[in-house]
């Protein structure tokens, strides 16, 4: 349009690209990376064999190749500031927020040992070895001095074991190993960043005095401890703030993000470990915040945390691929190969040595296979790349470092990442000689494994329960009172199951069958008579093999695998827990005897559960949940065949019925029966109501009549029972105060 020639006319159509260029291109990049992710998951099998990071880098390589061929430069966005201020925080926030605290604290010594000492060992070892290599004239890298080598070594010591974690979860690694790898990956980010800043500072100094080394060590501790303290401070403030947010639910998630980011930035201000600060902040905050905020906020927070982290990490890997093609490399065979070699060697030796030292202090010791898994699972990832790419240009031989790092990352991610699954499976397979097992053996041995696991849990094998107990007491008496909006004493069954069951209820609604009673695949609704009359079948070898197959694929693995937090890219998955509970629900519904007033009261109680609970995540949640599992009283094992905890099953299951209105269809005695039925009609969808204080007090009202109230059943205190027929569900108190009778 000729608008410039004739400014008096109104331009009908204009284009102003420069104005929107930056956000536009950013959006395109993010979209592109996300499309890549969609692409991978369409064919699900791929992600089993090839870790996601591989795929992302590959796509990046392709895009880089395209850009290179059209002589385009990738956007020069990945500067130090952008990385450290914008891209790193979401990743570590995600790490901290979804960290399974219970197993972590039980293994905190080991985790820190491997993370801190291990990273130091690796950095210094690799750095020194490389420096030694640099002395050899033939390789032409003599100008790299010690500090620079150490700097580079610290960068490539940062491991990112996501791919390894996925593999381990599938094959079966004990929980201890799992949490150690997870924790190590988490904390060595912090350690690496600290080392990085230390060494880059040192690299600038022309001469390093010995006192600088001591100062360095001192600084290390200051940085570390300072970070943790800052994190705690901000975490508690955040928790305290959310105590008052019940009227502004919409911005509740904001506080989580703002406070953690603030913790990060303030720590950066004082040049202490911002990574540790944000992780600590997230851990501290999560526990209290999730009790104070509404369920929607809770879900929002989790989703957004995951989303930001995924975007950030995806971008980094993607960028890695692009930059590999487009950047100017400086290749030195010697340096790169030796780097690879030393990285392997030092990590391997490090694992051996460290494990030997720490094993005596552990109740469950690591054997050689575990150590192999630990060592081999040390893939390098996003942080490594970002750190090296943001090295200032005044670092001598920066390009060489970039090249070498990229080479290592690509090697570990592709080669190790893809091969770790077959290798670990191979090692594992040799343990059990499957062919000799009969079906009996397979079933019974798995059953025994579950039993042993359960007994071990019962005996508290894993937990240093003394300290945990002390902390819990402190927590109850002091912290919860201050930080929680609605603090109930811990022994409230209501909140416990709410969480679990509401989520179940919601999920159940998603299944094609809205009513559990019509779920034939779970329960045998087939004629039992048919079974007896059936003549003995002949089973072919093929049938038996198929059975073995079914068993090995579908039998629940023992708890030693921490299912909930396996895949870093997904939200914690509690489908297994759900299944177990759904099954129990169904079985309890079948066996629910009519006229059992107690059960009915529980039913009613649980039916009226509110949505206070957040999305269930099997780690912490179950911890708290079961701490609360005080099923009201104990009913004798009256029903001859029924399992003892039938009552308990009630409590769990009927919760599931809460939103779903899965009221038992048996005849019910007393006034509650009709109320239940009434509810059934009224509630087609899970009720996501904010609960009032009163909601939480349902149990006791009913309970008191049937049995002496169970000890420690707090809600009895002065809260009106919700036993009026039909009331709870019909009472739609949406935005009123959230009763959070929890933990």
């Amino acid at each position: 349009e000729d608008d410039t020639k004739n400014p008096a006319n109104l331009p009908v159509f204009t284009m102003d690209y420069p104005r929107i260029q930056v956000p536009f291109e950013f959006t395109l990049w993010v979209l592109l990376a996300s499309f890549a992710k969609i692409g991978f998951h369409i064919y699900h099998k791929i992600t089993i064999w090839i870790p996601e990071s591989c795929l992302l880098i590959s796509i990046g390589l392709i895009v880089g190749a395209i850009m290179h061929s059209v002589k385009e430069e990738p956007p020069a966005v990945l500067s130090s500031n952008v990385f450290f201020l914008y891209m790193l925080p979401p990743i570590v926030l995600d790490n901290g927020y979804f960290m399974p605290t219970r197993p972590f604290f039980e293994n905190v010594g080991t985790v820190l040992w491997y993370a801190v000492v291990g990273t130091l060992w690796n950095s210094i070892g690799i750095g020194l070895s490389l420096f030694a290599i640099c002395q050899i004239e033939a390789f032409g890298v003599q100008d790299i001095n010690l500090q620079e080598n150490l700097l580079f070594a610290s960068i490539i010591s940062a491991v990112d074991p996501v791919a390894a974690l996925n593999v381990f979860e599938d094959i079966g690694v004990n929980e201890q190993l799992y949490i150690v790898i997870f924790g190590e990956g988490l904390f060595n980010d912090a350690v690496t960043v600290v080392l990085y800043s230390m060494f880059s500072f040192l690299a600038d100094l022309p001469v390093v005095e010995s006192e600088d080394v001591f100062l360095g060590v001192a600084r290390f501790f200051v940085v570390g401890v300072g970070g943790v303290l800052f994190g705690l401070l901000f975490g508690f403030v955040a928790a305290f703030t959310t105590r008052f947010t019940h009227n502004v639910r919409q911005i509740e998630p904001l506080f989580v993000f703002m406070y953690s980011y603030l913790a990060y930035l303030v720590a950066e201000l004082f040049a202490i470990s911002s990574v540790l600060a944000i992780i600590t902040c997230a851990i501290t905050m999560k526990y209290y915040v999730e009790e104070n905020v509404s369920q929607r906020s809770c879900t929002t927070i989790r989703h957004v945390v995951k989303m930001l982290a995924t975007v950030s990490e995806t971008l980094i890997f993607f960028f890695l691929g692009v930059v590999t093609i487009t950047t100017e490399h400086e290749w030195s065979w010697a340096y790169v190969l030796f780097t690879l070699l030393f990285a392997f060697v030092w990590r391997g030796i490090g694992m051996l040595v460290l494990t030997q030292i720490i094993n005596p202090f552990r109740t469950i010791q690591f054997n050689y296979k575990d150590q192999f898994g630990l060592a081999y699972g040390g893939l390098r990832g996003a942080i490594c790349f970002a750190l090296v790419f943001t090295l200032p240009d005044n670092i001598n031989r920066r390009n060489l470092f970039v090249t070498a790092s990229i080479a290592i990352i690509i090697f570990t991610v592709f080669i190790q990442g893809i091969s770790i699954r077959p290798i670990v499976e191979y090692i594992n397979i040799r343990r059990t000689n499957k062919d000799l097992n009969t079906i009996n053996v397979e079933v019974h041995t798995r059953m025994m494994e579950h039993v042993v696991c359960g007994i071990e849990d019962l005996c508290g094998q894993w937990s240093h329960y003394y300290w945990k107990d002390k902390f819990k007491k402190f927590n109850d008496r002091v912290l919860r009172r201050i930080l929680l909006r609605d603090n109930r004493a811990e022994s409230s069954i209501v909140s416990l199951y709410k969480k679990l069951e509401l989520q179940n209820a919601i999920d159940l609604l998603d299944t094609p069958l809205g009513d559990l009673s019509a779920a034939p695949s779970i329960i045998s609704l087939h004629d039992e008579k048919k079974e007896a009359a059936r003549p003995k079948r002949k089973f072919l070898a093929a049938d038996v093999r198929k059975m073995h197959d079914i068993l090995s694929k579908n039998m629940y693995k023992i708890r030693h695998k921490t299912i909930a937090y396996t895949n870093k890219y997904n939200l914690p998955d509690n489908s297994r827990a759900r299944e177990i509970l759904i099954r129990r629900h169904a079985s309890i519904r079948r066996s629910l005897r009519p006229g059992s007033l107690r059960e009915l009261k529980l039913l009613e109680v649980l039916n009226a559960m509110t949505d206070r609970s957040c999305v269930f995540s099997a780690g912490d949640e179950v911890d708290r949940l079961s701490a609360r599992v005080q099923a009201s009283g104990v009913s004798p094992r009256s029903s001859s065949r029924s399992l003892v905890p039938m009552r308990r099953l009630n409590t769990i299951q009927e919760q599931g019925g809460s939103g779903k209105s899965v009221v038992d269809e048996g005849p019910s005695g007393g006034p509650f029966g009709s109320s239940l039925r009434g509810r059934k009609a009224a509630v087609p969808a899970p009720r996501r109501r904010s609960s009032d204080r009163e909601d939480d007090s349902e149990p006791p009202g009913g309970e008191e009549e049937a049995l002496p109230p169970p000890p420690g059943w707090v809600p009895e205190d002065g809260d009106p029972g919700e036993n009026e027929a039909g009331n709870p569900l019909l009472r739609h108190s949406s935005q009123t105060s959230r009763g959070s009778s929890r933990l």
């Binding site: 079933v443 005996c459 695949s521 079914i550 179950v622």
Partner: protein, 197 residues
Amino acid sequence: MGSSSSSTERIPDAQELMQETGFSAAHLVRLYERFEFLDKDDRGELRLDDFEAVSELAMNPIGDRIIGAFFSPGRETVDFPSFVRILAHFRPTDTNRTRNGRNGAQPEPANSRTSKLKFAFQLYDQDRDGKVSREELLQVLRMMLEMQVTEEQLQSIAERAIQEADLDRDDAISFDEFKKSLEKVDIEHKMSVRFLE
């Protein structure tokens, strides 16, 4: 951690318990501490809810059965001796302690292979008739299998299991048949827990 002394003074009948179960004093003390920890209301005995408060048991597919095993029929609480007696089943088998080393008239130790198997057997056999019927087997199978296994597949598996083990053709698995089917399995290791001191 916990009380520093490993004295068994606080534990009633400690000596008899040690004798009966084979636990050492250190083990017993630790178990007692654990018992006290589980016993949230300091009643001196555990009730169902105390067991259920252990979160991991909630997530155990056969958690209910395990908990149920602690309660003697008709009783609603578990006192410390009963607690320990059940746990004694899981003590690692003493390889150096032969039966002859103790009084020959002693009953089968709680952690012998047979006792361990009996414990496992009773997890199946809820009605205590000495046999695991098809239905009982199916119940446990259902608990242990994920939901996508169809009923038909379940039935086949149970059928096959019974066929393999059932020697006297009564369509149920007796304890001896159970024992025989597991003769190649290292029960001593599988059903042992390393108790902490």
